[in-house]
């Protein structure tokens, strides 16, 4: 239904998007980051078609084979690992794990962080104090150490690593939501909607929340890249995804003994982590410049 009231809202959204894209595309590096990330996402989705080999098949006659192409036997562009598995295919399938892990961490942080942040900002008083002191406590321990301790309780594994990492990032999201909520809540449009008789949940989620989203989106993007890094770090320490899962950090850990005799088994997975994280950070920088109202030249 395209009623009269809907039309201006739609065109406003389009205008906002166009404005956003205008500022975002000003930074070439941000566009490159976005394109690269899109490539990685496609690679993850179509891993079954792109990967030259099955990531779990062990080519016993090609153990620790150096990168080679055009050869008759053992034709592996990125070489093979200690069990004769194709490194390239393992890395391609690893994008799935890393992207999903990063994505779930960000979604968990956003949803839980927004709810706690709104509660703290709306109710203030003891609710606010309790929530914020808990967040301060989480923040007083370095993220990786906190995640390690949480995984020690929950048990090693990719899912538990994601939960643990989410908990360590949560304070940033709660603080951001709370502070932008408090700033927004004293503005006139909020008072107007209160006067018009809007209920507290309507004010929290429909009136104010959309106006707090810009910094949250930026924080979410930056957390996406650090989540990939921390998932890989936990995998490397043996507390994240467990072998034979081809998670990038786990790949480095399982081939670590070979790093001097077969350096490609360690080099390529790490390069994959670096490039993915770099692409997301490039995009995040562009997003921040495009969405940050302080920087906006209007």
């Amino acid at each position: 239904m395209d009623s009269v009231a809907d039309t201006p809202r739609k065109s406003m959204l389009r205008q906002n998007l166009a404005e956003f894209w205008y500022y975002f595309s000003e930074s070439k590096s941000a566009v490159v980051g976005l394109a690269f990330l899109a490539g990685i996402i496609l690679m993850a989705i179509f891993a079954d078609f792109i990967a030259p080999h099955d990531p779990t098949i062990q080519y016993r006659e090609c153990l620790e084979h150096a990168p080679a192409w055009g050869e008759e036997k053992c034709n592996f562009i990125f070489g093979t690992d200690y069990a004769g598995r194709d490194m390239l295919s393992r890395i391609i399938y690893g994008t799935r794990l890393s992207l999903v892990a990063g994505g779930i961490v960000v979604l968990l942080c956003l949803s839980v962080g927004i709810v706690f942040g709104l509660l703290a900002g709306f109710f203030r008083g003891w609710v606010d104090t309790t929530i914020m002191r808990i967040m301060d406590t989480i923040m007083s321990v370095p993220g990786l150490l906190m995640a390690l301790v949480l995984v020690a309780i929950l048990g090693p594994g990719l899912l538990n690593a994601m939960i643990a990492i989410s908990i360590t990032y949560l304070p940033h999201f709660v603080r951001l939501t709370r502070s932008s909520y408090i700033t927004e809540s004293s503005k006139e449009y909020v008072i107007a909607s209160k006067v018009a008789g809007a209920g507290r949940f309507r004010i929290m989620f429909i009136t104010i929340l959309p106006n707090c989203m810009a910094p949250l989106i930026v924080q979410g993007t930056l957390s996406f890249s650090t989540a990939i890094l921390d998932t890989a770090a936990l995998g490397f320490l043996g507390m994240g995804a467990q072998p034979p899962a081809p998670e990038w950090g786990t790949l480095i850990a399982e081939n670590r003994d070979l790093m001097l005799s077969a350096p490609w088994t360690v080099t390529f997975p790490g390069l994959a982590i670096l490039l993915a994280v770099l692409a997301i950070n490039l995009m995040g920088d562009g997003l921040r410049d495009a969405l940050d109202p302080k920087m906006k030249r209007s």
Binding site: S29, R133, I134, D136, T137, S140, V141, P142, G143, L144, L145, L148, V149, A152, I153, G155, S225, L229, A232, A233, F236, L237, G238, M239, G249, I252, R256, M259, L260, P263, V266, T267, P269, G270, I273, L274, V277, L278, N281, L282, D285
Partner: protein
């Protein structure tokens, strides 16, 4: 000033209790029977089980266990390691200098390189130099440091054979522990080559641990400088005809340093997290490696004690940074008290 200090310390009290509750809860949330987990023994007889329960105080009500725990903490008793049967605090203090030593050299590297290149990038804003420096620092910021460490080991240790790849000093030297800081102890020992060997062992871990703080400091110095450079007093200084060195090095830098010092202070947490990975890669006998070892060997009292001690150290450093910030930027003092 007095109220400012008092207020900042008062803010830490709830966090201290939060951390202790968390550390206390950690042991109780472990899967399985806590007695078996904490004692590290299997197939205990019921008598032995009861004996350990009594010894660890697990038979008391939970609130009393927590009060006992706090009481012990305040008396410097952080529990006993199940593995070595030694007080956690002793083990921690024995290994901590190695971590501080590495953390300090990494921080020095980060500041000595990061601040100047940040200033340079800001002054040369928009040029190729600026873009190059910012590009490289973004790569550094995105670096999985465990892989970075392995890469350096492959190149410098393996291919070129330039540096040692693990430990703090060559096994040829037997340096007596005086301060725990090996560089100082090596000098004190008077053994020929000991200091050089210790320095040689520090190169790779320092680079690896310093990479992310270096990138962050360079980026933050740049943006702090950019903000300051657009201020009126900088324009005035330039209009007065002062030399660029004086304008940037004195007028601008001094004000930009307020931000930079805060950023440097905030890196302590990053360093601690980085130390876990760096020390594991280079077999550096410090706190990071110890914590990982304790997690894997299920020495839960050690993990718990380490958690509280590290949190307390970071809290104190942040307090000092806060107070420093108040001192160099008097505006903060007046607005908050």
């Amino acid at each position: 000033m007095f109220y400012f200090v008092l207020k900042r310390i008062a803010l830490l009290v709830p966090i201290f209790f939060g951390v202790t509750i968390m550390a206390f809860g950690f042991i109780r949330m472990l899967p399985g029977d806590p007695v078996a987990a904490l004692a590290g023994e299997r197939d205990m007889t019921p008598e032995r089980h009861a004996e350990i329960m009594l010894k660890l105080g697990l038979d008391k009500p939970v609130w009393q266990q927590y009060l006992d725990y706090i009481w012990n903490l305040l008396h410097g008793d952080f529990g006993t390691s199940v593995l070595t049967n030694r007080p956690i605090l002793d083990e921690f203090l024995e290994l901590f200098p190695a971590t501080i030593e590495l953390g300090l050299t990494a921080m020095i590297l980060a500041v000595v390189i990061g601040v100047p290149i940040g200033i340079f990038a800001a002054v040369k804003r928009g040029t190729l130099y600026d873009q190059g420096i910012m590009g490289i620092s973004l790569v550094g910021y995105s670096m999985p440091i465990f892989w970075w460490g392995l890469l350096l080991i492959i190149l410098f240790g393996g291919v070129w054979g330039l540096t040692p790849i693990s430990g703090r000093i060559s096994f040829l030297f037997d340096v007596e522990t005086v301060t725990g800081f090996l560089l100082i102890d090596a000098l004190l020992s008077g053994e020929e080559g000991a200091f050089a060997s210790a320095m040689h062992h520090m190169i790779l871990p320092t680079i690896v641990l310093g990479t992310i703080p270096l990138a962050i400091i360079a980026r933050q110095t740049r943006s702090a400088m950019l903000e300051v450079l657009s201020e009126d007093y900088v324009r005035t200084a330039r209009a007065k005809g002062l030399s660029p060195l004086r304008v940037y090095g004195l007028h601008a830098l001094r004000n930009a340093m307020i931000t930079v010092i805060t950023v440097i202070g905030l890196q302590v947490g990053t360093l601690m997290a980085g130390a876990i990975l760096t020390e594991t890669i280079f077999s550096w006998p410090g706190i990071g490696k110890w914590i990982i070892f304790s997690v894997f060997s299920r020495d839960y009292y050690a993990v718990q004690g380490g958690l509280v001690l590290i949190a307390m150290i970071i809290m104190s450093v942040n307090l000092v940074v806060d107070l420093l910030y108040g001192m160099i930027n008097p505006r903060i003092l007046h607005t908050s008290s």
